[in-house]
């Protein structure tokens, strides 16, 4: 593979290229359907506003995970392999929001079996016309395996060779 990030190109403090997405009702509903999440707060405006007491339908948890995955692997390229992802949701993402993903590298390491890892702190913020001040909606700690050299492939690791 060409254009492949390798661990020697990654340093603590590096910032990933940010990602900005305009959120529409379709964004929310597509994500809910793709993740087989049929709960009505992710597609039914009246349920979300009148029952849950929020301003609109909102992005569901598994779809947020998928957005984090897309953001991180945009940076690593296809040989980047997610090991662990921990995220905390503080506020919801609604239609009309612009969501922005940003991240910083917090640790670069190689484990005992030679797998290269980068730890990232990812922040998902949102702004909208109604709420123009950026609000942090989710934070996510990610541990992602990155090839240590052009011939390395984290996806080839199995069993004890994979320690996420």
């Amino acid at each position: 593979m060409s254009d492949q990030l390798t661990l020697d190109e990654v340093s603590v403090g590096d910032a990933l290229p940010s990602l900005e997405i305009e959120v529409t009702p379709t964004t929310v509903v597509l994500g809910a359907i793709a993740s087989r999440d049929w709960r009505p707060m992710h597609h039914d405006y009246k349920f979300a506003t009148e029952r849950n007491g929020v301003q609109d339908i909102f992005l569901n948890t598994p779809n947020q995970a998928a957005w984090f995955e897309r953001f991180v692997t945009d940076w690593t390229g296809p040989t980047g392999r997610l090991g662990r992802m921990k995220f905390r949701m503080r506020d919801s993402i609604f239609p009309g929001d612009t969501m922005t993903f940003a991240a910083t590298v917090t640790e670069v390491s190689t484990d005992d079996v030679g797998c290269g890892w980068a730890s990232l702190e990812v922040t998902l913020t949102a702004t909208s016309d109604a709420r123009p001040e950026p609000r942090v909606c989710s934070t996510c700690s990610v541990r992602v395996a990155i090839p240590t050299n052009p011939n390395d492939n984290p996806w080839a690791r199995r069993g004890d060779q994979w320690r996420p």
Binding site: S35, L82, R88, W162
Partner: protein, 176 residues
């Protein structure tokens, strides 16, 4: 997780659940590529592993599902013959809502650990383990309790493919 376990003050119906594998289930259908495309389309994810078979063959030994789709394979159909009532995926979460009479709930934290890749044709199974339940707490949403649930996922060869840890908050609105 800041929410401490409140084991000593919980009803026995709940303490009996803590630490016990519950609701071992096998998915209703095999892992299939349609959901890979749906997920990638919903997130505008152009990773060639999911779109280019040659890349998938070279890197992952063939097609895989996006790792973050791990939980979707266990979510029930919205409706199916013979099923009554709403079909839910994380039954322990809904059990706790019922036991504590907390009509609303949100997930506040989610940790996913990714193990062997999931591939089209796999049949995924999982089980749920309640790890802890907090004392009553009041947040801007209302008053209720936090709980932590682990979900382990295996494929048909009993290989571990992932572990999810959810923190849920069940609450009564406006009770602050």
């Amino acid at each position: 997780m800041a929410e401490e376990n409140a084991a000593e003050s919980l009803p026995s119906e709940v303490t009996d659940m803590v630490g016990v594998p519950l609701y071992h289930q096998t998915a209703d259908f095999d892992v299939e590529r349609g959901y890979t495309y749906n997920t990638c389309a919903a997130t505008q994810n152009g990773n060639p592993i999911y779109w280019d078979e040659a890349v998938a063959e070279e890197l992952t030994g063939g097609a895989i599902a996006p790792p973050t789709t791990i939980s979707l394979w266990m979510r029930p159909h919205f409706w199916q013959p013979g099923a009554e009532g709403e079909q839910v995926a994380l039954q322990v979460h809904f059990d706790l809502k019922r036991i504590f009479r907390l009509p609303e709930a949100v997930m506040t934290d989610n940790t996913i650990t990714f193990h062997d890749p999931v591939r089209p044709g796999d049949r995924i199974s999982n089980q749920q383990v309640l790890k802890s339940v907090s004392e009553p707490k009041t947040t801007k949403l209302g008053t209720g309790r936090f709980w932590v649930i682990d979900v382990e996922f295996h494929n048909q060869r009993d290989e571990l493919v992932g572990v999810e840890t959810y923190t849920g908050f069940g609450y009564v609105r406006g009770a602050a």
